[in-house]
C-alpha cells in the first residue's frame, strides 16, 4: 500500500530520515524498529574527518530551530571501515549524504561509497549553509551545480540524489540543471539561512552568527518548492522540511514528492517516524487508497 520508488530504489514506504538529524540510525534503535523505515539518510560525510563549528551551534526559534553544526563527521574512510559494518545489515535503504568543499572531494567520497555493496544511493549535498565551503556555493548556481553533478556522475554508478538549497531565487532552475547533468532524483529543501540574536547578551545565539533554519516553521516554503520542482522535472522528487506528522508528509506527497524525509521532528520525538508511517496507512485505509502513488502529485 505504501511502497514507492525513487529511480532504482524500492522504498517500503515513503518515510525516510533526513541527514544530520538521525546520526547513523543507531542512536534511535532503542526507540523504533529501524527496518520499518523507507530509508535512512546518514550523517553528511566528507573526504576527511571534520570537527564542525564551535559551540554554540543551535538556537530554538518560533516553531523551529537554527543549527550551525558545520558537517562534523568521522570522514569517509572511517565511515567505510567502521560505521558501514555496524549498519550495513539493516533491512532498509541506507543512503549516504555526501558533502564537500570541492569537486575533487565530492568525487573522492562518492567513489569510495560506490564500492559499498549495501549502500544503494548517495545524496549529494550541494546545499550546506554552515561551512564556508559547504557546497552551498555549488547549489546556488545552476552551472556550478551541473558541473559538480556531472563530475560525480562519472564516478558514481548507483542512484544519485542531489539535495537542493532553498536559498536561491529559482529552485526550479537548479533542479533542471542537475537533472540535465545526470541526477536520478532531487531532495529538497535543505535548511533556510537564518539568524537570531540574544538581546540580553547583545550577541548572536550561534558561534557562526548565521545558521540553518529547520522545523515546522519552514514547512510551507518547502511544500511550495517541492510543488514547483515536481512540475518542472521528470526525475523523482523527495520532499522534506518541517514534517512532524502524517498530514505533513501527505502535503509533500500531494505536492509531488515520491518520498519524504523527516528531520528536526526526530529530535522532538525519537519515535515520530513510526507514527508517520502508521498515520499514512491509516489515511489510505480511511480514503480507500490501495496504493499511495495514487495521491502523489495530485495537486
Amino acid at each position: 500500500m505504501l511502497q514507492t520508488k525513487i529511480h532504482n530504489l524500492i522504498l517500503k514506504n515513503p518515510v525516510m530520515t533526513a541527514s544530520g538529524t538521525f546520526g547513523y540510525g543507531e542512536e534511535f534503535a532503542d526507540f523504533i524498529d529501524l527496518n520499518r523505515l523507507g530509508g535512512i539518510i546518514v550523517k553528511g560525510t566528507t573526504g576527511e574527518r571534520r570537527q564542525g563549528n564551535p559551540y554554540p551551534r543551535m538556537a530554538e526559534t518560533p516553531s523551529g530551530m537554527l543549527n550551525a553544526v558545520g558537517l562534523q563527521n568521522v570522514g569517509v574512510e572511517t565511515f567505510c571501515n567502521e560505521v558501514y559494518h555496524r549498519i550495513k545489515d539493516l533491512d532498509t535503504n541506507i543512503i549516504v549524504n555526501v558533502s564537500g568543499s570541492s569537486i575533487e572531494e565530492y568525487c573522492k567520497t562518492a567513489s569510495m561509497i560506490d564500492a559499498l555493496d549495501r549502500i544503494p544511493a548517495i545524496e549529494l549535498n550541494i546545499s550546506c549553509p554552515n561551512v564556508k565551503k559547504g557546497g552551498m556555493g555549488f547549489g546556488t548556481n545552476p552551472d556550478m551545480a551541473a558541473q559538480v553533478v556531472s563530475e560525480v556522475r562519472k564516478v558514481y554508478h548507483k542512484t544519485l540524489i542531489v539535495k537542493l538549497t532553498p536559498n536561491v531565487t529559482s529552485v526550479v532552475d537548479i533542479a533542471k540543471a542537475v537533472e540535465n547533468a545526470g541526477a536520478d532524483s532531487v531532495s529538497l529543501i535543505n535548511t533556510l539561512l537564518g539568524m537570531a540574536i540574544d538581546v540580553e547578551k547583545q550577541r548572536p545565539y550561534l558561534s557562526t552568527i548565521t545558521g540553518g533554519l529547520s522545523g515546522p516553521a519552514v514547512k510551507p516554503v518547502a511544500v511550495r518548492m517541492v510543488w514547483q520542482v515536481a512540475h518542472a522535472v521528470k526525475i523523482p522528487v523527495i520532499g522534506l522540511g518541517g514534517i512532524t506528522c502524517a498530514a505533513d508528509a501527505l502535503e509533500f506527497l500531494m505536492a509531488g514528492a515520491k518520498a519524504v524525509q523527516v528531520g528536526t521532528a526526530n529530535f522532538i520525538d525519537p519515535a515520530v517516524t513510526m507514527k508517520i508511517i502508521d498515520g499514512l496507512e491509516e489515511y489510505c485505509r480511511r480514503h480507500g487508497i490501495s496504493d499511495i502513488n495514487e495521491i502523489i502529485g495530485i495537486i
Binding site: 544530520g20 538529524t21 538521525f22 546520526g23 542512536e27 534511535f28 532503542d30 526507540f31 570537527q51 564542525g52 564551535p54 559551540y55 554554540p56 551551534r57 543551535m58 538556537a59 530554538e60 518560533p62 516553531s63 523551529g64 530551530m65 543549527n67 553544526v69 562534523q72 522545523g215 515546522p216 528536526t264 526526530n266 529530535f267 522532538i268 520525538d269 525519537p270 519515535a271
Partner: protein
C-alpha cells in the same frame, strides 16, 4: 540501559520561589535503573512555538514508588511553561540519557551551585549505598538561590557558601574552609565558571574530578551534534558522551576562560 519514551504523571509539585520548583513524577509501571548524573528530555506541552524538549537533570529517584523528581530552574519560555503545570498533569519524557557519575572515591567532595545542585541529591544517595559519606558543599549568590538544603543532611556533611553570607560561609564555594581539605574525588555541577575553578583546583592537586555539563541541546541522544564541548579529544556530545566528564578529558575547556 535502554532509553524510553514515557508519559509520567505529576504527583507532587513544590514551588520554592520564582526561580525554582520541583516536580515528582510517577512512572506508569516499573522505573528502570537510573544512574546518578543522568538526565531526561522533557516535552514542553501546550506551547506550539516551543518545539524542542528541555534537558533536565534527575534530582531524586524513588525505586520503591517508581517516581523521579526534577529540580527545575525557570530560565526561559520552556521552563516557564513547565512551571505552570499542576499535580495530575501528564509529562512526556525521553530518558534515562547520558553517562552518570562513576561513584568512585573514598574521601569525596560534592560541589554544587544553583540548579547544578539538582543531580547531587541522587548522587549522595548512590554514594551512601556504597558506604561513602561525602562532604556536600552547596553555593549560591544568596540563601534563597540554594533551593534544596536539609534534604541533603542524611547523606553527608552539608555546608554552604553564599556570596552575601546569608547562609553558611560568605564567599564562593572555592573559598569555603571545607573546599581545600584532603579529598581523593570531587564531583561538581553548577555554573561553568564555578565548575572550571573546581576542576582547575582538582587537576592542580591531582584529585580525581568529574564535572557535569549543561550545554544547549536539541535531541539529547547524540544525533543532532549541537551540544558539543571542546574536549581534549575533539568535540564530544554532552548528551551522549557526557553530561559527566572526567576533568582530565577537558583540560582545554577548563583552562579556556
Amino acid at each position: 540501559m535502554r532509553k524510553q519514551i514515557t508519559d509520567f504523571t505529576i504527583v507532587e509539585k513544590q514551588v520554592f520561589n520564582e526561580t525554582y520548583f520541583t516536580l515528582k513524577l510517577q512512572h506508569p509501571g516499573i522505573l528502570p535503573e537510573i544512574k546518578a548524573g543522568q538526565f531526561v528530555e522533557v516535552e514542553v506541552p501546550g506551547n506550539k512555538q516551543v518545539v524542542l524538549r528541555r534537558p533536565i537533570s534527575i534530582h531524586d529517584v524513588d525505586t520503591d514508588n517508581n517516581t523521579i523528581t526534577l529540580l527545575i530552574q525557570v530560565v526561559g519560555k520552556g521552563t516557564k511553561t513547565l512551571s505552570n503545570m499542576k499535580e495530575g498533569d501528564t509529562i512526556n519524557m525521553v530518558y534515562p540519557l547520558g553517562h552518570g557519575f562513576s561513584l568512585e572515591g573514598e574521601k569525596v567532595l560534592l560541589v554544587g551551585g544553583g540548579a547544578g545542585i539538582a543531580p547531587l541529591l541522587h548522587l549522595s544517595k548512590c554514594l551512601n549505598l556504597k558506604g561513602i559519606h561525602p562532604v556536600i558543599l552547596l553555593g549560591g549568590r544568596t540563601k534563597s538561590l540554594i533551593p534544596i538544603q536539609k534534604e541533603f543532611e542524611p547523606y553527608g556533611q552539608v555546608c554552604f557558601a553564599t556570596e552575601d553570607g546569608s547562609l553558611g560561609e560568605k564567599g564562593l564555594v572555592t573559598q569555603h574552609s571545607m573546599f581545600s581539605r584532603d579529598y581523593d574525588h570531587i564531583y561538581t555541577c553548577g555554573p561553568t565558571p564555578m565548575m572550571k575553578a573546581v576542576a582547575r583546583h582538582a587537576l592542580d592537586k591531582g584529585i580525581e574530578c568529574e564535572v557535569s555539563l549543561e550545554n544547549m541541546m536539541a535531541c539529547g541522544i547524540g544525533a543532532c551534534l549541537c551540544c558539543v564541548v571542546d574536549s581534549d579529544q575533539g568535540h564530544k556530545c554532552v548528551c551522549k558522551e557526557g553530561p559527566v566528564f572526567n576533568a582530565k578529558q577537558l583540560t582545554n575547556w577548563i583552562n579556556n576562560k
